[in-house]
């Protein structure tokens, strides 16, 4: 049975936990204002003046993502100064809009006569999509309609430009984003033409004759000799025929999120099936244990099945955020824990790691092993080893800002007769189940402890299912109601315990998700993790840092028999559980001046301490690694 649900709006969720809530606060206090300064300094907030040179093709998206983040933050935390900044941006933007609705600061400033001539490379519809998302957020969360009105006019202009109708361009954007944005616009306005336009963009992609061939020929460029090369843009073949997640990972998951939205709204089974196939490929063959995706540094892309390098992981922050978007769409069409599990995996590991605890510094690439000496001084030509305050290509920081500002919206969902909890965090939420208001109070130390106590408050008794995710990482979840154990296996559907009954005010459910320290192995085809284990406890993936374990982390090995103990460390990194145990290191005796030798080194006992991956690089700079050799 499939239960179609709607996310509970972020305004209805108040988090008070020690993991997410401090991140949300740092995002509000440091990230959003800090990004404002960076964007301003770099000209991105002024680009709609249409006067300054040097505007880049995706500056509009940077500004728009910041506005979107601000809108979510304002929804739960009024801030007149921030509101003024948002209004000023919107005002400038509205005044820049062309009479026909067109709105793009790059083209309007730099190449006014070249609109829609390089869809493959120039991010025009991508920028439109981000502006639309910001506009929807301002309307839905702040009750500010002005940007939305402007963006509807722009969307109408886009609709009159693209499509299969006579005289229209049969194009689509090289960087997907417009698809999911149009679906948000459709839901915000109930105007069917936006659904139709999103469907058109999904269906047209990869068809022959190939639009990018035509476009290149028109511009005097050579079309790709090998159409497979369009996989970078997910345009190597029609989406319904794609079976593996290919190309630029952010583009891919934005697109798949849009596809999933279209499939959910239209009930298109073929499209839904294609979404599931692509999901299966990512989850089963192309996902880091941290929830990162897109392992290839070259072209920021998915590479091939089971190719998951650790030191050379690209695992872009935006890609993991895009995966969360995709997961959320899949989950709401089909309440299945696999989607929420991956959402949690990406959020609590890769994405949480992508920003410093104080919200001021960011990772673009989220490696699973870092060897600083190699990454310093540009020797390897790659990102430096530690977080940075800003990037020339600034997509990730504002993406982090908008995700953390809207995090409340990922916690739970409701239908008229069901209320589902996806993420466990201490706090309250209110849901409207077909007119009945239900409040849940969640008491837990998750993700550091697996006991979750949920108290139901409502005026009158009401019948509904409380659906609780049973994470796949937990082998033996237990559930009790008013102190009485429930037979969890009888109420489980697709990894959610559906507790269906007439609920009364004060009813309390206890979910116990025992958190053992796990040694994860990767599939035998993941060559980069052969003979190694990753440590996980609950949803949290661990890593070794040099400041706890000394340098040369790769030399540490963990005997299979070594017991790992978990400790709550209240004053470490904002409070977290660390793991310790006995490990081995090689004796360095006899190695002077030698690089290779026939005799093996003696092993020496060493102590190992692992900290949550999401908290690394908040102390002393040094090496880091997730995968540990097992002996």
């Amino acid at each position: 049975m499939k239960t179609r649900m709607t996310p509970i709006a972020l305004e209805k969720v108040e988090l008070r936990d020690s993991f997410l809530a401090p991140r949300i606060a740092a995002n509000r206090k440091a990230t959003i204002p800090g990004l404002y300064e960076s964007l301003r300094r770099n000209g991105r907030l002024d680009s709609f003046r249409l006067k300054n040179g040097g505007v880049h093709i995706f500056w509009d998206s940077d500004g728009a993502k910041w506005v979107e983040a601000a809108a979510y933050s304002l929804a739960v935390h009024p801030d007149p100064e921030l509101e003024k900044r948002v209004d000023a941006y919107v005002d400038l933007m509205c005044r820049a809009q062309a009479r026909d609705g067109y709105l793009n600061s790059y083209y309007q400033t730099m190449e006014p006569d070249r609109r829609w001539t390089d869809l493959m490379r120039n991010h025009e519809l991508y920028c439109a999509g981000h502006l639309i998302e910001a506009a929807v957020a301002l309307q839905e969360h702040c009750g500010k309609p002005r940007m939305l009105e402007a963006l509807c006019r722009y969307a109408d202009h886009i609709g009159s430009t693209f499509g299969t109708g006579k005289g229209k361009k049969r194009g689509y954007c090289g960087h997907p984003e417009i698809e999911l944005a149009l679906m948000r616009l459709y839901r915000a306005t109930s105007r069917g033409e936006y659904l139709d336009l999103a469907s058109y963009f999904i269906d047209e992609r990869g068809r022959k004759p190939h639009y990018y061939d035509t476009e290149a020929a028109g511009a005097g460029r050579k079309p790709e000799a090998d159409p497979q090369r369009y996989d970078y843009y997910q345009a190597h073949r029609p989406l319904r025929d794609q079976t593996t997640a290919e190309g630029h990972a952010v583009r891919a998951c934005y697109l798949f999120a849009g596809m999933a939205d279209v499939a959910a709204e239209t009930g298109d089974a073929g499209l839904r099936k294609a979404c599931r196939r692509l999901w299966d490929n990512i989850e089963g063959k192309r996902l880091y244990v941290t929830g990162g995706i897109g392992s290839g540094v070259h072209q920021e892309r998915f590479t091939v099945d089971y190719d998951l390098p650790d030191e050379r992981a690209y695992s872009e922050t935006c890609a993991s955020i895009a995966l969360i978007f995709f997961a959320q769409r899949m989950l709401h069409a089909d309440l299945d824990r696999r989607y929420a599990d991956v959402m949690e995996q990406a959020l609590y590991n890769c994405v949480a790691a992508s920003v410093s605890l104080d919200g001021t510094r960011f990772f673009y690439a989220n490696r699973l092993a870092v060897y600083p000496k190699l990454l310093q001084r540009g020797i390897s030509g790659e990102f430096p080893p530690f977080r940075d305050a800003w990037f020339q290509c600034a997509c990730c920081p504002p993406n982090i800002a908008r995700l953390f500002a809207s995090l409340g919206g990922y916690v739970a969902s409701a239908s008229k007769d069901a209320l589902a909890l996806h993420l466990y965090a201490a706090g309250d939420l209110k849901a409207d189940l077909g007119g009945k208001e239900v409040k849940l109070s969640v008491d837990t130390k998750y993700p550091w402890d697996g006991r979750v106590r949920i108290r139901v408050s409502l005026k009158d008794p009401a019948a509904f299912s409380l659906c609780l995710r049973l994470p796949a990482w937990c082998a033996r979840p237990q559930l009790s109601l008013g102190g009485k154990r429930l037979a969890i296996s009888r109420m489980e559907k697709a990894g959610y315990a559906h507790v269906a009954r007439t609920w009364r005010d004060g009813d309390a459910v206890e979910l116990d998700l025992p958190m053992e320290v796990q040694r994860l192995s990767a599939h035998p085809s993941v060559r980069q993790a052969s003979g190694m284990v990753a440590l996980r406890r609950g949803p949290i993936v661990y890593c070794l840092e040099e400041c706890d374990n000394g340098a040369d982390l790769a030399d540490i090995s963990l005997p299979r028999s070594s017991k790992l103990a978990a400790h709550w460390e209240k004053s470490l990194l904002g409070g977290c559980v660390t793991l310790t145990g006995k490990a081995l290191r090689r004796d360095r005796k006899g190695w002077d001046g030698l690089l290779y030798r026939p005799s093996p080194s003696r092993r020496k006992t060493a102590s190992l301490k692992a900290v949550p991956y999401c908290l690394w690089d908040n102390r002393k700079e040094g090496e880091m690694r997730v995968w540990i050799r097992e002996e």
Copy 2:
């Protein structure tokens, strides 16, 4: 005690072994003619017409290296057709020479007014160096003086342009090569000004004010903000102050070879010490087990100590060849097996692997692990997985050609009272020891078997030391003379057995170098080889190929207790010794659709077969790896 020696010329060495001799033959029959066709087709042999556009800054070096290879080949194998081709090239080149001696097809064709304006980037002196090497080879090995005369005029022109004298430029080339070439010219002509000029280039490098700053300023370019960045050119500081091998690996070792030459000729102890420090750094911290160097794909460079990735190894063919040049120079200033050992290691592994057995296809990068799926279709942006017939940047193939054509010259050296054998291969050689002619006949199946029988032929009894390298890979070498065991420890100096006596015609020495299968570990700081072993037998490093072991080679592990057996396989890959043993693989049961799981896989016994690394990619295409996980 140091014994200064001179290499025995390649004409005096006749190899008949089953390893080197067939390579030399393939080089003569396939590589040299094949390269001629490629160079001709790509315009490189016509560039001295000074008429065609599109000449590249280092085309002269490609042609010159081919001429040099041809010269060596003609020295031992007359070939009128080849000789005609060489003469035609030389004729064209001589006619292109400017009146003042200048000779560079790029500048003369493309930027005639910009000579010597971009020494850092434009390879002008580098091309001069390769032309000089070719000229010396033609004179010394073929008795053709015409090119040498032209190049002396060019060298004189260079000498009048560069130096510390008034009005001279204080420059030096961004791509070293001129230094070692001038040393060859000096030895060929005995004209001291070439030694002085080489010394100047060595001494000036990296001095302040920095020439590349001055040059950049003159051209309106921004000088490097961080002088450390000049390490790419080995110009970050004066050479005598450099302690680690930095930057582009080919440039580095060409330069170090030139330095070693200058130090040997001038007796400059400081310079010699600097050479030894740089050698120590390479040998002790930056050398692949295959004899490759320069692990960084980015900038084809040395990276940091102990950074030796396998899949991402760059290990350029030219860099390993340059290392052989450096090793040979060090060896002839100081008879120490460490230099000859590395020479052997690079030659029998990395360099031998860089060309197919038939001499028609080449590696530019010599990886230690190859996963073809990742490298196909340009997904990773790197070289494809298998050898290619040609490269846009064509430095490696003609470098291979000139090394193999001159290989006889690396086998042995002589002084007036000593004759040293560095490489063991079946064949004959003739040496002149201060007027006494000595012939050695070597009978061995080396590198497949360690027994080496050396028979001395001479007219009259003569007193000299026969110095035999005792490779460091051999723990217990044995030596006998006329059937009687010699006490090797008493005659060993720096890894050579010095057998000093009065030799008579027919005397025979037997050197036995037992070849055991060794499992090499890397230094504990080499993170990419943690927990792994490389198999070596004699000088030969082994690898696994997919065609012998199935796919997913990284999943194979070798129990520490597993015995490895060596077999002579007469009809495999031209005849070679392979290794077999029992290994383990993980059971794939229970992995369907899973990427990570807490329970380890069961191990299944599998058989393992390793073939010489230098012979890989001569059969069916597939995965390859050198380092094997040990359990």
